[in-house]
């Protein structure tokens, strides 16, 4: 074996690859909601585990950034820990759990509860960028659907859902119309988070590594969740406040406490919840 130990480039990807990703990002920002094909590289974590988001983060990150990584809204879930560990290793970047302090936030399945501000960038990991895929398995056909803006199939799906169950039964990856032009999948965030995309002050970037697509929502872009006049879009609602911090109007995790049905509902956003508890807010559940 003559392979000397190698040093990886800052942010892991080589500069040529970063430039390629940034060019795709620029195009994506210029055409909100449009899926830009890009030369996705193999990353040292498996496809489907955030390789697209990681390539965007790796292409944007600078030594001055403060990176936050969440999965399911929490900073301490294993996959979030692993991705944060990766960037600490290959970029030496400062990391944070505080949404307000982060300049770059990589996320899977949630948008933080703390409203994002101008200058922040949210990078979403995307398993399936194509909102039409479940209705049309062929990529060649889906490209035509977007090119022609022929989204009847999606409206039919929503209509059938209403006709069969009396409601739109899409709970996550709820399709949105971006800037009045492209139907876009917001990735598997719960539809609770859809309103956070509407005219967001922060830049939102979506990376699908395995499917080799990048798309974007520039700040202050119109993002309309698809619905009908008589069946308007509604986000999920949780009847009880967070058992730990008492927050209402937030997305909640259901925690099973025993095998007899005892459970409690707590904030899915671990930073938001911890911050409120630090401020002295409490919920109905006693804490230790």
């Amino acid at each position: 074996m003559t392979h000397a130990p190698r040093r990886y480039n800052f942010g892991y990807l080589d500069e040529g690859t970063k430039r390629m990703v940034r060019r795709a990002l620029l195009k994506a920002v210029a055409i909100p909601g449009y899926q830009v094909p890009f030369g996705s590289r193999e990353m040292p974590i498996p496809y489907g585990w955030g390789t697209g988001g990681m390539q965007i983060t790796a292409s944007l990150i600078t030594p001055g950034d403060r990176l936050k990584v969440i999965d399911q809204g929490a900073d301490d879930t294993t996959n979030a820990v692993n991705i944060r560990r990766f960037f600490a290793k290959v970029a030496g970047t400062a990391t944070t759990e505080a949404t307000a302090e982060a300049t770059l936030i990589q996320t899977r399945h949630r948008i933080p509860e703390t409203p994002l501000r101008e200058g922040q960038t949210l990078v979403l990991q995307v398993p399936q960028p194509e909102p039409m895929r479940r209705l049309e398995p062929r990529e060649t056909e889906c490209r035509k659907i977007h090119a022609w803006g022929e989204y009847g199939l999606m409206h039919l799906r929503l209509y059938e859902s209403v006709a069969q169950t009396g409601r739109i039964t899409i709970n996550h990856s709820y399709p949105v119309l971006v800037n009045g032009r492209y139907v876009m999948s917001p990735t598997p965030i719960p539809r609770f988070d859809n309103p956070k995309m509407e005219f967001s002050a922060a830049l939102m970037l979506f990376g699908a590594g395995r499917e080799r697509r990048i798309y974007a929502l520039p700040p202050y872009t119109s993002v309309k969740s698809l619905d009908f006049e008589d069946h308007p879009f509604t986000p999920q609602q949780f009847p009880d406040p967070c058992a730990l911090c008492g927050a209402r109007g937030v997305y909640q995790d259901e925690i099973l406490l025993d095998d007899t049905g005892a459970k409690m509902f707590v904030c899915s956003d671990s930073d938001f919840c911890a911050r409120r508890r630090a401020e002295g807010q409490t919920g109905p559940a006693p804490q230790t």
Partner: protein, 363 residues
């Protein structure tokens, strides 16, 4: 009711990795596997990892196999993730497989042919009975031929082609540089160079199943194994500063050329058609499967109505890569409790709505 949110993911991850390292080593009383042992004594596994890992480096493939505890798909992933960090410093000239230093070459189309049938190291005609002697140690040797095999052996489809019975195998007009899936995303319709690159990296099991489907009933190209050859082929590059070709090494390859169903447009002489397979190392199962699937994917070229899965380029090419499919299937292990909660919430709401309706009806 006391509840503390879960913390400590990082410690758990590090502990899990330590546990893997301990299990990988096995009983410290046993000698540790060397990379040389893996490279030479588990060579077919090394070949598979190089083919699917898309990198010809037997040492690194052996290391990947050791690291992956013999899991070939995981080892291929390790090799791919390493490969993607390497600089692309040159493009090799097209490999000339007719210059292959042949170790094995067979054809099912002729009893004898120029260069002869060379069985080489093949288990094809072995009896698949467990050899209990192998549980011990030994140093077996094989007899050597009195004379070397022919330095150049014509490829059988070319011999058939000399009589005009074979569709020609010419580079496309202008001989453009082939595409590179590792740099540019797959797009459709995918040209044959891209399809072949995809198949060469594809999961052997996936290709094998597809190839079998074309033989068994979900396809209709009756194939003949025109030729299968295995051996070493020199790799040449032309450095810009030199302007002439230099040999930078050699790779072991298995090449499979299938001679398939007769086609001829009206006004043309009918000819046999081809399917092509090529894989790093000694991988006949892979190379033959690839050739059958390549031929199936050429349906458009021969105006065949695509009716079977193996003829569907989107289906085949999007699902053939085991690094992609393994990652995505296994991503289901990641936490999904936000979306699961969303589904639960809907079920609860639907139940509540139904209870309310029933109550109304009862009143």
């Amino acid at each position: 009711m006391a509840y503390v949110p879960v913390k400590g993911g990082e410690a758990a991850i590090l502990n899990a990795l330590d546990l893997v390292a301990e299990e990988r080593r096995g009983d410290p009383a046993d000698p540790e596997l060397t990379l040389a042992q893996i490279r030479t004594q588990q060579a077919r596994a090394v070949d598979r990892v190089m083919a699917e890992g898309s990198l010809y480096d037997p040492d690194l493939a052996a290391l990947a196999l050791k690291q992956a505890q013999g899991d070939a798909t995981e080892a291929a992933f390790l090799l791919r993730a390493y490969r993607t960090t390497l600089e692309q410093f040159a493009r090799a000239r097209p490999l000339e497989t007719d210059r292959m230093a042949i170790r094995r070459r067979i054809s099912a189309c002729y009893k004898d042919l120029p260069g002869g049938q060379v069985l080489g190291p093949s288990v094809d005609y072995s009896h698949r009975m467990l050899d209990f002697d192998l549980a011990g140690e030994g140093a077996p040797t094989a007899p050597r031929a009195e004379a070397p095999v022919a330095a150049q052996m014509p490829r059988v489809p070319d011999l058939v082609g000399n009589e005009g019975f074979m569709e020609p195998s010419e580079p496309p007009a202008g001989d453009p540089a082939p595409g590179d899936l590792t740099r540019d995303p797959l797009a459709f319709p995918a040209p044959r160079d891209i399809r072949l690159q995809n198949l060469a990296r594809a999961d052997e099991g996936f290709l094998l199943g597809l190839a079998y489907s074309t033989q068994r009933g979900f396809g209709s190209n009756h194939p003949y194994a025109g030729e299968i050859r295995m051996g070493e082929v020199p790799v040449e590059v032309v450095p810009e500063e030199l302007g002439f070709a230099i040999e930078i090494g050699e790779v072991t390859l298995t090449e499979s050329q299938m001679i398939t169903s007769v086609k001829g447009a009206s006004g043309e002489n009918p000819k046999f058609t081809r399917g092509y397979g090529l894989a790093f190392g000694h991988c006949e199962r892979k190379a033959m499967s690839m050739a059958l699937v390549d031929r199936a994917l050429r349906a458009d070229e021969f105006a065949e109505e695509p009716r079977y899965p193996a003829q569907d380029a989107e289906f085949v090419l999007y699902h053939s890569d085991n690094v992609e499919s393994s990652g995505f299937v296994q991503h289901l292990k990641l936490p999904h409790y936000v979306d699961f909660q969303a589904e639960l919430r809907m079920l609860r709401e639907m139940r509540a709505a139904r209870r309310a309706t029933e109550q109304e009806a009862a009143e």
